[in-house]
């Protein structure tokens, strides 16, 4: 069945790429089950090529079994089986727990008795007695249970056959074949020694033995793991009939569209229509500048008849301060700008701000991305050949009170490296790989990376680049004036006593005072320790666990580097990143920018590029990364190219073929606005007219701007942390989250912060509703005039009481004369009442007339409310509904306020669509 299906697929589907090797009679490569079918096999067994992969696939070296850090039952294997020396020792030479092989009597070896359950084994039966697996291990023991010579281990590459699988219906099966090409020229069929994984178990599943089965429409990858090879192959089952020639003709205006549609054609997904102009305006303004379009902008864009207006808008947006502000924030996320971690004791918050401003200035002038990154990567505190004193003097000028020097004009920005949470070289390596390469290598810190080629050795060699990068008080060169002498001087000047708290405060004040005057103080510094000092120091050397070995730095997936050629070990790293073949640097950035516009990277998660996590559209990522490099790392080119594509401008409305598509960019994904953007959007939607204008000009007011994690607790941060502003402490883009939560909903529904904003009627936070209330309220004279209505009404009541009194007396008294007198009193009271009542009526009439005359145009208010929140005018139906809602409210403006509240709470407001 399987073979016929394969033949069928090969015959029917041109998309099924078949390698030349596959065309050769496969029989020439024997499988392990054939090679080790008999206990008397003469086939050679290699520890690395066969024994360890077998244990790995049987689950022995898994995390919950012997791969656990403490091992299991006294037997410990390296997790994901890659530390061959250690594993070999553990099996053949573990004196403490007993040696697990018996060379004299191989079948009595523990390593065979346990997994076959001949002896009690908590991990149950993993290998059947007499099976080829059993024979394989047995033969290895018979041959002396040896570890391999070095050459045996040189891994070349994996080859999976077929290279791609296109299914035609559900429940079809294809057997994969995995060939390992070793460096020594041998090719082995290792299918039975390989572990497999599906990247999407709703599309296809894969068995232990490498049989792939289609489940439902879509596309994914099956990944094969063997030795140091991690090899994915694309697998798909078209979701509709409309594949290849049957796919409708879709005009592709840009290269992006062409590459996206090429993929869609294969999977049978038809893309959504283009979005409307106003959907586009709102979407792109939010994505590119983190800001809502203003009501005026919406109206102008709608009225603009130009066919080219979308492109023109993109170009306009890229010139705005908001673009630079928002993308500086994003880059600060990736690089981890957290004020509390910055090395300087007294100027943390200022330096965090400098970091932000430095990046923002570069984005604003569109400095090439590689140049900006080099300014961070290669930073040192001193510039050129500065002496310590010159450095200290210059530093203070950045912070002095009058006319401070502009930090963002500095060529390099050292604060990235000064952070206290990346003091150790391994921490620097992790941060670096995440920030600039989009790679998560922390797994390899302790064991072989489960989803990539990185070994612990790779990690250790990579971290070796960072051992000389130091922040603090420089001691590796001799200078007459240095940190220590300057500290001693200033301490002497103030009579410092380190034991006294007051004294410490005094020192801080003195330093701040001198800095504010631009005088030099002892600043710590970021520097590269001189190579001489990097020689192992015998006196200090501790005998800890072998990690003090001097390691040759090695670029990830690249060559070893001899640092003697470079005064700064980071220089070869930067060179490597800038080289054309670099697989990470440009792609990491391109992918992150893409993820910003689509809510999903071409590689997803966007900061987790690894072999087992291939891009959903490799050609697309290649095209953008290559284009980015060819255009001189031009960030604006990248933004413009992405935003100008039809792919970005598609509607979120799905059709039958793409409603389940998540990774092929056939429609726009609905995404909750990022934390800062939500907070700003709320502030802008409720703001008074003048403040709305300020929103695009004054970045100090903006959450997308320099509002950093340091220093500003308080109300604003409540919303920001609620909506997932990253704290920038761990190396993961996932710190920023766009998941909705209950607390967020409670915030927008009912938090006093939120409700207060909508109705604020004073000062800086004056709201639109507040302004309107002021505007429509009568002036002060009229107010006091109308206020008299109340006192007049009171007077009427008094008259009425008195009148009632006279009436009662009149009824009681006997004499006619008296009756008459009181009768007159009653009448005269009535006159007073009538006169006052008339006054009241006149005033009330005047007040009504005034209110009527000052009444705002309801339709206009409704339109404003919609433009402010969902950036479009109301539909007919909504307009009718809103008119009724407002008419039914206590006052017109109360009605508008409720409408504004409702619109701020719609999903349409908080979701970018």
């Amino acid at each position: 069945m399987r073979t016929t299906l394969c033949a069928l697929l090969v015959g029917l589907l041109p998309a099924l790429a078949v390698s030349p090797v596959f065309a050769k009679p496969v029989g020439e490569l024997k499988t392990p089950s054939q090679r080790y079918a008999s206990a008397d096999t003469t086939e050679e067994v290699s520890f690395r090529r066969h024994v360890i992969p077998l244990f790995s696939r049987a689950g022995c070296s898994g995390r919950e079994c012997h791969g656990a850090f403490a091992g299991q039952g006294g037997f410990s294997l390296s997790l994901f089986g890659y530390d061959f020396d250690k594993d070999h020792k553990e099996i053949v030479a573990d004196e403490a727990d007993g040696i697990r092989v018996e060379l004299d009597s191989p079948t009595d070896s523990l390593i065979l008795l346990k997994p076959t359950m001949q002896e009690r084994h908590k991990g149950k039966e993993r290998i059947k007695l007499g099976s080829w697996e059993y024979n394989l291990v047995l033969k290895w023991i018979k041959d002396g249970a040896k570890i391999d010579v070095k050459e045996t281990g040189a891994f070349g590459r994996l080859e999976i056959l077929p290279k791609e699988i296109v299914f035609s219906k559900a429940n079809q099966e294809v057997q994969l074949k995995v060939l390992c090409h070793w460096e020594d020229g041998t090719v082995e069929d290792v299918t039975q020694l390989t572990r497999f994984r599906t990247n999407d178990e709703s599309v296809a599943e894969v068995s232990d033995t490498g049989v792939v089965k289609s489940l439902s429409g879509g596309d994914t990858h099956i990944v094969a793991f063997y030795d140091n090879g991690v090899q994915p192959i694309p697998v798909m089952l078209p979701v509709s009939e409309k594949v290849g020639d049957r796919f409708p003709k879709i005009t592709t205006n840009t290269k992006i569209d062409e590459l996206v549609v090429n993929k869609l054609r294969k999977v049978g997904i038809i893309p959504s229509e283009l979005c409307t102009d106003l959907e586009f305006l709102r979407r792109v303004t939010l994505d590119m500048t983190g800001t809502l379009p203003s009501p005026e902008e919406v109206k102008a864009f709608q009225a603009n008849p130009s066919a080219n207006k979308r492109t023109a808008k993109i170009e306009e947006l890229l010139e705005r301060d908001t673009y630079a502000a928002w993308w500086a924030t994003k880059l600060n996320d990736f690089t981890g700008n957290n004020a509390q971690q910055i090395g300087d004791r007294y100027y943390r918050n200022e330096q965090s701000r400098q970091w932000y401003d430095w990046v923002r200035a570069r984005i604003a002038k569109n400095e090439p991305y590689d140049k900006m990154v080099a300014g961070i990567v290669l930073a040192t505190s001193r510039q050129g050949n500065q002496s310590y004193l010159d450095y200290a003097r210059q530093m203070s000028t950045y912070y002095k009170k009058s006319n401070p020097r502009d930090f963002s004009k500095r060529e390099t920005m050292p604060h990235y490296w000064s952070r206290r949470n990346i003091r150790k070289p391994e921490e620097k390596a992790l941060s670096f790989a995440h920030a600039f390469l989009g790679v998560q290598i922390q797994c390899a810190q302790c064991h072989k990376h489960p989803f990539d080629q990185w070994t612990q050795q790779d990690f250790n060699q990579f971290q070796a680049f960072f051992t000389g990068i130091q922040y603090g008080n420089r001691t590796d060169i001799k200078e007459d004036v240095n940190y220590r002498t300057m500290s001693a001087q200033i301490e002497k000047d103030i009579g410092y006593d380190r034991k006294k708290t007051e004294s410490r405060r005094k020192l801080q004040n003195e330093i701040k005072k001198r800095v504010s005057m631009g005088r030099p103080v002892p600043w710590q510094e970021l520097y590269v320790r001189k190579t001489a000092a990097r020689k192992p120091n015998n006196r200090k050397k501790k005998t800890n666990t072998g990690s003090s070995r001097v390691l040759t730095p090695k670029i990830l997936g690249g060559d070893e580097v001899h640092l003697t050629e470079y005064p700064d070990p980071r220089a070869p790293l930067m060179e490597w990143m800038r080289s054309k073949e670099n697989p990470y640097f440009a792609r990491a950035f391109v992918n992150r920018v893409w993820a910003n516009y689509f809510g999903r990277g071409i590689v997803e998660p966007a900061d987790d590029m690894n072999l087992a996590n291939p891009p959903s559209n490799g050609e697309l990522l290649d095209y953008l990364a290559d284009g980015f490099v060819e255009n001189g790392y031009d960030m604006k080119w990248l933004h413009k190219t992405i935003a100008s594509s039809d792919t970005y401008q598609r509607s979120w409305r799905p059709n039958d073929t793409n409603k389940l598509d998540e990774k092929n960019f056939s429609k726009m994904k609905l995404r909750r606005l990022p934390a800062e953007v939500v907070a700003d959007a709320i502030n802008m939607a409720v703001a008074g007219e003048k403040r709305v204008e300020k929103f695009v000009e004054d970045m100090e007011e903006r959450m997308i701007g320099p509002m950093l994690t340091g220093g500003n607790n308080g109300r604003a941060n409540y919303a920001l942390s609620l909506f997932g502003k990253p704290v920038r402490l761990t190396n993961c883009d996932c710190e920023r989250t766009s998941d909705p939560t209950l607390l967020q909903t409670l915030y927008t529904r009912n938090d006093y912060d939120m409700l207060g904003k909508i109705d604020s009627n004073s000062g800086k936070s004056m709201s639109w509703i507040g302004e309107l209330r002021k505007q429509t309220a009568p002036d002060r004279k009229l107010v006091s005039k109308f206020a008299s209505i109340a006192s007049l009404k009171k007077r009427v009541k008094q008259f009425e009481t008195r009148q009632a009194g006279y009436q009662r007396t009149r009824d009681k008294v006997k004499s006619e004369q008296q009756k008459k007198r009181y009768g007159q009193q009653v009448k005269s009271m009535q006159k007073q009442i009538d006169r006052t009542q008339k006054q009241i009526n006149d005033l009330e009439k005047e007040r009504r007339a005034h209110a009527e005359a000052n009444k705002l145009d309801t339709d206009d208010l409704i339109e404003q409310t919609f433009l402010r929140t969902v950036s479009r005018p109301p539909t007919k139906n909504e307009l009718t509904m809103a008119r009724e809602d407002i008419a039914g409210a206590k006052t017109q403006l109360d009605g508008v306020r409720d409408l504004l509240w409702a619109m701020l709470n719609t999903k349409e407001f908080i979701i970018n669509h």
Partner: protein
């Protein structure tokens, strides 16, 4: 496949998918892990928990671990008093607690090495020594992830807020409601997001009605889009919660009976304790309360006897007695702790400094055997006498009373499997 499930790492994308599917908080991966380990326990006594944080690091030597025989350089000026449990003695300034010492257990000689406030606090609030590479979730986040509260009741409440709280790798969804302020005696309490301030219930209903009519841009998607479906779910739940009489009443201290109110004094800590009992009664799963001012580097005894100890005494005694009176003590675990103890040796400013090597914790309710002292510090209170209890052990025990296996694994967003508290062991005498 079987091998993959059994032994291999779970990929980040697998995690995300399972997490997203499950939505309600308990992901499939969690369930599998639990089911696999046979750890789905429903017979635990603790159904909810109250965590009392004594911010600043209370002096063990002057509260629950006095050393009347230590030299003058260490001893301190307070005397011990007898309690209602024979043999259990503690500070004379805790007379109310002395009358209900049978309701709680004292842990002495709890020990760690982190002498900075932030680090110590994180350690004691998560049961994990802080690591730079990973943010552990606080107890409240774990409990509110694993235990479901009624729909209209906030599952996890911090009174008034908990700056050091972190949801860690569990994500924002498991963060606390912060009341923002402390309750006052015989008042209704304002809670941000829940309290109606300047609007009435009718306003809420009218607005909700409006919102439903305007919020239909994505109606055509039904529940097929996760973001839309998630927001709709939370929208309904927020509305339920805002309207809920149970929630409003829980925050309304005027609704409490005189018999119960009498258990407390009028100070904010006491009233917070009262509120915590009301929240648990209503169905909340986790409540944190704070009492600060323990960082007594100087003037230790004066500050303790005039301010901190009377407040602590009234509040905690009220808490234990009230839980008992309401029949909730058996099902509510109370955990009282600072971030460290204080130096046994008295400093020159008649104070004590940070000292993590010996501290105390209190545990009560939820099946904890009260009226006992577990662990012991040495003669001068400078460290555990022989058996060292770690914050991890206390955490493991705390989780145990709530039916949560402290070795259960969660996956971080990067796919790394992490146990709730890897190094802790349940303290058997307590449970």
């Amino acid at each position: 496949m079987a091998n993959h499930m059994f032994c291999d790492g779970v990929a980040r994308r697998d995690f995300l998918k399972v997490g997203a599917l499950a939505g309600a908080g308990f992901s499939l991966a969690d369930y599998m892990a639990l089911a696999h380990a046979g750890e789905l326990k429903d017979n635990a006594k603790g159904k909810a928990a109250i965590f009392v944080r004594l911010a600043g690091g209370p002096s063990h030597m002057d509260t629950f671990d006095l050393k009347p025989n230590a030299p003058d350089t260490h001893r301190g000026e307070f005397k011990e008093i007898k309690t209602n449990v024979p043999g259990v003695r503690f500070s004379e300034h805790l007379p109310k607690l002395a009358k209900c010492a049978d309701k709680f257990a004292i842990l002495r000689g709890v020990s760690h090495t982190l002498a900075a406030h932030a680090l110590g606090t994180t350690y004691l609030a998560t049961g994990n020594r802080p690591l730079p590479s990973i943010q552990f979730p606080s107890y409240g986040s774990v409990v509110s992830k694993l235990k479901e509260a009624p729909k209209d009741i906030p599952p996890y409440v911090s009174i008034p807020r908990d700056i050091n709280n972190t949801t860690g790798f569990l994500g924002l969804e498991y963060g606390p409601f912060e009341t923002g302020g402390s309750p006052r005696a015989n008042r209704r309490m304002d809670v941000r997001g829940l309290t109606l301030r300047g609007i009435t219930l009718e306003d809420v209903e009218r607005r909700q009605n409006m919102l439903q009519r305007y919020d239909n841009a994505f109606a055509s998607l039904g529940s097929s889009d996760q973001t839309v479906a998630g927001m709709d779910k939370f929208s309904q739940r927020a509305y339920d919660m805002i309207r809920s009489n149970r929630t409003r009443d829980a925050f309304d201290l005027t609704k409490e009976s005189a018999a119960i109110t009498r258990n407390f004094d009028d100070q904010s800590f006491s009233q917070s304790c009262l509120l915590a009992t009301r929240l648990v009664e209503a169905g909340s799963k986790f409540v944190t309360i704070q009492l600060g001012g323990w960082d007594t580097h100087n003037d230790n005894w004066n500050r303790l006897k005039t301010r901190n100890l009377p407040a602590l005494d009234a509040g905690l005694a009220g808490l234990f007695n009230t839980l008992e009176d309401k029949g909730l003590l058996g099902s509510t675990t109370v955990f009282v702790t600072g971030e460290f103890g204080r130096t046994p040796k008295i400093n020159q400013r008649t104070g004590r400094d940070h000292y993590p090597r010996a501290m105390f914790c209190l545990l009560a309710g939820g099946g904890i055997q009260g009226g006992q002292v577990v662990g012991e510090s040495d003669a001068k209170g400078e460290g555990p006498k022989d058996r060292k209890i770690t914050p991890d052990d206390v955490a493991a025990t705390f989780y145990h009373t709530l039916g949560i296996n402290h070795r259960q694994e969660f996956h971080t967003p990067t796919g790394r499997p992490v146990m709730i508290t890897r190094y802790g062991n349940v303290i058997r005498e307590l449970v």
